[in-house]
Symmetry: C2
C-alpha cells in the first residue's frame, strides 16, 4: 500500500522530470492519484509510461502551455498546446465554472491536447461548486460506427456530475463503447481473456483475445445508440473545438505523433434555477429513495453512479493505495532514468 501523499509526490516528481513545472505537475498528479484511489487504474499512474515514451519521442510538449484561442460571452476555446490533457481539461472546467457564475451556463472547448484521464474528475469540480458539470472528449479511432466493421470513432466518453448535500455527488462517467480500450489493454498486459461482447477482431468476428481485439474494433453500447453518442462527442469535442476528429485523432499509447485530442467542459449553475441548498437536499433524498428500492437476487446494495468509486477513494485514503507490482517497477525504473532519488515501495 502506498499513501496518497507519497504517490502524489512520486508522480509530480516524475512529471517534473518530464519537463512539467512544479505547480502544474502537482495538479496533474492529483488527477492520476485520484484515478488510482477510485479504482480507475487505466487512467492512473499507468499513463506515466506512455507519457515517458512521448517525452522521449518529442511528442509531448512540456511544460504544458495553454492558450486562449477564442472567447465570447459564455463560451471559449482553449488550445492545450499538445501538453498534459489533465491540465487542459482542468483549465477548461475552471473557465466554464467562472463563466457560468455570470451567464448561468457555459461551455469551454479544448483543442490540441492529449488523454485527459478520467472525466468524472472534471465534472465533479463543477459539482463541488454547486453546478452540474458535463464533460466529453474524443479519442483515437477504435470503434466502428454501427453497420461498419472499420474503426473510425474513439470510445469517446462523457461524464455528468450532480452535487448532493450530505451524500457524495452523483457522477456518471461512461464511454460510448461497451468498455474503454484501456480495459482491453490492461487485459492484454495481464495476459487475461476478455468477455465476448466487448470487441470484434479486424475481420469483424467476436473475440475473447485482447490482442485481437486491440487490432479489431470496440463495440458501442446498445449498438446504434453508443455509435450515435460517439459521433456526437467526436463532433463537439473534436470538430467544433478545431481539434482532430475521426481517423485523424492518434492514440496516446503509440508514437504516431501528436494525438490532437479535443474535449468539452460545460458547467450549469444550479442556483439560477433552484435554491442550491434545497436542490442538494432533494438529491440526497433521491439517492436514499434509490438505495431503498428492492434489490435483484444476490444484490445486497444498489449503488448510485460514481458511488463505488467514492467508496474506493475513501478506502484508499484510510488503508493506502494498492498499486500493481508491475506498475511500481515501471515507475521506479522511470524515476531512476530521470535521476531521481525517490523510490516507490509497497508497504
Amino acid at each position: 500500500m502506498v499513501s496518497e501523499e507519497k504517490l502524489k509526490k512520486v508522480i509530480s516528481e516524475i512529471l517534473k522530470g518530464y519537463g512539467e513545472n512544479e505547480e502544474s505537475a502537482l495538479l496533474a498528479a492529483d488527477c492520476l492519484v485520484k484515478a488510482e484511489m477510485r479504482g480507475i487504474s487505466t487512467h492512473g499512474t499507468y499513463l506515466l509510461i506512455p507519457m515517458f515514451q512521448r517525452v522521449k519521442g518529442g511528442m509531448l510538449d512540456l511544460p504544458t502551455k495553454i492558450t486562449l484561442v477564442k472567447e465570447n460571452n459564455a463560451t471559449s476555446i482553449i488550445d492545450g498546446g499538445n501538453g498534459l490533457g489533465q491540465l487542459a481539461a482542468r483549465k477548461a472546467m475552471c473557465i466554464s465554472i467562472e463563466k457560468a457564475k455570470k451567464y448561468d451556463v457555459a461551455l469551454t472547448l479544448v483543442r490540441n491536447t492529449n488523454n485527459i484521464g478520467f472525466l468524472g474528475y472534471y465534472s465533479n469540480f463543477a459539482a463541488q461548486e454547486g453546478m452540474i458539470g458535463f464533460v466529453g472528449c474524443n479519442a483515437a479511432s477504435s470503434m466502428a460506427p454501427w453497420g461498419s466493421s472499420e474503426a473510425f470513432l474513439g470510445a469517446n466518453p462523457i461524464s455528468i456530475s450532480i452535487p448532493a448535500k450530505n451524500k457524495k455527488s452523483i457522477v456518471m462517467d461512461m464511454s460510448s463503447s461497451v468498455v474503454a480500450r484501456g480495459k482491453i489493454r490492461k487485459a492484454s498486459r495481464n495476459k487475461e481473456e476478455i468477455p465476448l461482447g466487448w470487441a470484434i477482431d479486424k475481420e469483424g468476428n467476436p473475440t475473447t483475445d485482447p490482442n485481437e481485439a486491440l487490432k479489431g474494433t470496440l463495440l458501442p453500447i446498445a449498438g446504434p445508440k453508443g455509435s450515435a453518442l460517439a459521433i456526437i462527442v467526436d463532433i463537439i469535442a473534436g470538430m467544433l473545438s478545431g481539434s482532430r476528429f475521426g481517423l485523424e485523432v492518434k492514440t496516446f499509447h503509440e508514437l504516431e505523433g501528436a494525438t490532437g485530442v479535443g474535449a468539452f467542459c460545460m458547467a450549469i449553475d444550479i442556483k439560477k434555477f433552484y435554491d442550491l441548498d434545497c436542490f442538494c437536499s432533494m438529491v440526497d433524498s433521491y439517492i436514499c429513495s434509490i438505495k431503498n428500492l428492492k434489490k435483484v437476487k444476490n444484490v445486497t446494495e444498489v449503488y448510485l453512479p460514481g458511488e463505488l468509486e467514492f467508496i474506493s477513494e475513501q478506502e484508499s485514503r484510510e488503508e493506502g493505495i494498492k498499486l500493481d507490482s508491475k506498475i511500481i517497477e515501471s515507475l521506479n525504473d522511470i524515476l531512476e532514468k530521470l535521476g531521481s532519488n525517490l523510490k516507490l515501495v509497497h508497504d
Copy 2:
C-alpha cells in the same frame, strides 16, 4: 396512404376539438405528423387517443397555457400548464435558440407538462438555426435503477442534433432503456411477442410477453450506463425544473392525474466557435467518411443517426403516410365524437 397535409388537418381538427386553439393545434399537429412520417408511430397520431381520455377525464388543461416562471441570462424555466408537451418543448427550444444568439449557449427547463413526443423534433429546430440542440425529458417510472428490480426511473430519452450543409442533420435520439415503453405498448396492442433483453417481469425475470413487461420494468441500455443516464436526465429535466421526478411522474397512458413531466432544451450557437458554413461542410465530409467505411457482412449501407428517419420522412412526403388501420379507426371514432365532418380515409 394519407397525405401530410390531410393528416395535419385531421390532427389539428381533433386537437381543436379537445380545446386547443387554432395556432397551437397546428403546431402540435406538425410534431405528431412528423413522427408518423419519420416512422416513429409510437410518438405520432397514437398519442391522440390517450389525449382524448385525459381531456374527458379533466387531466389535460387545454388550451395550453405556457408561463415563464424564472429567467436569467442564458437560462429560464417555463411552466407547461399541464397542457400539450409538444407546445411546451417547442417553446423551450425557441427560447434557448434566441438566448443562445446572445449568450452563445442557453438552457431552458420545462416543468408541469406532458409527453413531448419525439425529441429529435426539437433538437433539430436548433440544427435548422445553425446550432447544436440538446433535449431530454423524464417519464413515468418504468425502469429499475441498476441493481434494483423495482421501477423508479422513466425511459428518460435524450436527443442531440448537429446541422450539416447539403446532407441532413445528424440526429441522435435515444431512450435510456433498451427500447421505449411505447414499443412494448405497441407490441401489446398488436398482440406480438417482444425480444428477450427488452424488459423483465415484476419478479425480475426476463420476459417476451409485452403485458408482463408492462407490469415489470424496462432494462437500461448497457446496464449501469443507461441507468446512470436516466438518473441524470430525471434530475435535470424533473428536479431542477421544479417538476416531478422519480415515482412522482405519472404515465400519460393511464388516468392517474397530471403527469408532471419535466424537460430541458439546450442550444449551442456553432458560429461562436467556428465559421458556420465551414463547420457544416466539415459535417458533410464527416458523414461521407462514415458512409464510405467498410460494412459488416450483409449490411449494404451505414446509416448516420437520424438518417433512416429522414429517408422515411421523404418517402412519406412523396408516397403518402401509411397509417395503421386501427389508428385510422380510432381517429375517425374520435372525429365523430367531437362532431367533426372530417373523416380519415386510406387511399
